[in-house]
Amino acid sequence: MSMPFYVSPEQLMKDRADFARKGIGRGRSVVAVQHADGVLFATENPSQALHKVSEIYDRIAFAAVGRYNEFENLRIAGVRLADMRGYAYDRRDVTGRGLANAYAQTLGTIFSSGGEKPYEVELFVAEIGDTAADDQLYRLTYDGQVADEHGFAVMGGAADVVGGYLEERYTEGASLADAVRLAVAALGHTDADDRVIPATDLEVAVLDRTRSQPRKFTRLRAARLDELLGERGPAEHAPADAAGGPGADGSDGSDEPPIAPV
């Protein structure tokens, strides 16, 4: 018969947090940058089908790092929540704050409930307003904490290095092209050297206030990215054994089941 060991609540929470953090740290970073026309998201993701950045509603977008199956579930739930609210009330009544709150409560409950394993995800929820001053960017962590970010934010593996790069170079009210260049350069930056990421390996999307349609979310495809990024020198694919690991999020090739075929 096994003896039930006493584990202090502090230790229990710490173990769960370490577990979640480890899972999140394996994936590549996602960068969010506010600029004059809205909010830009960028990440290195060679898959064209498994997105890390997605549309939730007219002015709301979602980005995630961590386990694909877990954040995909959260994304679908967010789309359902937004569409249901927009249908029952009005399109203007769907807010990023409401969505961020629902995600925070959900992640917080799962994190502190004993039965389930914590979600190994971190999320951005962004909403653009009529002017840059009204734009909002929320960052949600695995334990349900919400932070209101300003200017730029980074999550996922190598977040410190990428964040440091942005910290030094970020300027407010930049144009879209400048924001794309900054975000992509930051993603390619490591302590050792700077790598030029091929446009085909990038997933970049924006919430663009200047779009005439009510749905402001749009993806910037490789051709458009090349145009915005200009001449950058020879591109280099991510090394297979980089800090980010060979797979996309959460699959480090060892004991983890494969998640994203990239």
Partner: protein
């Protein structure tokens, strides 16, 4: 929503259809699920609520045009002069509604959400036939209300990116879906509009020609059907015209429609019955 958490059902993988999800989670929000009291409704329910009237659609080489008049009637009363009955369903399609306006507008909202929801969840748009079938399913769900006099009969048109052509679908109250060739019309003035289009429509019409043809058809419908509104010159209210091409759909600016309508009216000043078609093919007018 009392519990701030996402309900468990939201987190379950499953349907990418919004209306199916709604049927599970909040069935009272579906237009067809609302109970209408039995008894004295019958043919009368139709007179209690505004009715939308005539919608026409016609294809041309590069796409499809849909237009609707602006009148809603309630029995013999004109309920609204500037109602809009043609809506974009998504980027490449539009839906026009005839029948009970309240339920029809709600159904359009549900249909728009349905298409957008699918696109967001699946990361790709539905095929043109897929969209037409989803709309058929929504109409079928409204059959109970239709039997009590609150029928909705939409016309659906869009640009099919797979076949590179404009396509038109008509429906009946039971959700029957029928693809139409070249042009079609629904609503109380549809017989006159269709007759008009029969004589005016040519397969080689360009976009502006096609717009003129549908505005002519709506004029003919208003001429002979009291429930269809003609161009309102004093208030400058003209039909809503939606044009869908490979570049997506757009609503023609009021000024552009007004220019076409003014042209049509100028012609009718000389000949009130409109343009003359040749008696035999290739003959002189």
């Amino acid at each position: 929503m009392r519990d701030p958490r996402l309900p468990a059902a939201f987190l379950q993988p499953g349907t990418s259809s919004f209306s199916d999800f709604l049927a599970d989670q909040a069935p009272d929000l579906l237009p067809g699920r609302r109970a209408v009291p039995q008894g004295h409704a019958g043919g009368q329910a139709g007179d209690l609520a505004p009715h939308g009237t005539t919608i026409v659609a016609a294809t041309f080489g590069g796409g499809v045009v849909m237009a609707g008049d602006r009148r809603a009637t309630m029995g013999n009363i004109i309920a609204q002069r500037d109602i809009e009955k043609v809506f974009p369903a998504d980027e490449f399609s539009a839906v026009g509604i005839a029948g009970s306006a309240g339920i029809a507008v709600e159904m359009v909202r549900l249909f728009q959400t349905e298409l957008e929801h699918y696109e967001k969840i699946e990361g790709t748009t539905l095929s043109m036939d897929g969209k037409a079938n989803r709309l058929a399913a929504l109409i079928r769900g409204n059959l109970g209300m239709a039997m009590q006099g609150l029928a909705v009969v939409p016309l659906f048109a869009g640009y099919d990116l797979a076949s590179d052509s404009g396509r038109i679908f008509s429906y009946d109250v039971t959700g029957g879906r029928y693809e139409e060739t070249a042009f079609h019309s629904v609503g109380s003035g549809s017989l006159f509009a269709r007759g008009s289009l029969k004589k005016l429509y040519r397969a080689d019409l360009d976009e502006s020609g096609c717009v003129t043809a549908v505005v002519q058809a709506l004029y003919d419908a208003a001429d002979d059907d009291s429930a269809t509104g003609g161009p309102d010159l004093t208030r400058r209210i003209f039909p809503v015209v939606q044009v869908i091409t490979a570049d997506g759909g757009r609503r023609l600016a009021d000024a552009d429609v007004a220019a076409v309508a003014d042209q049509v009216i100028a012609g009718r000043m000389a000949r009130p019955d409109g343009p003359v078609a040749p008696l035999v093919e290739g003959g002189q007018a």
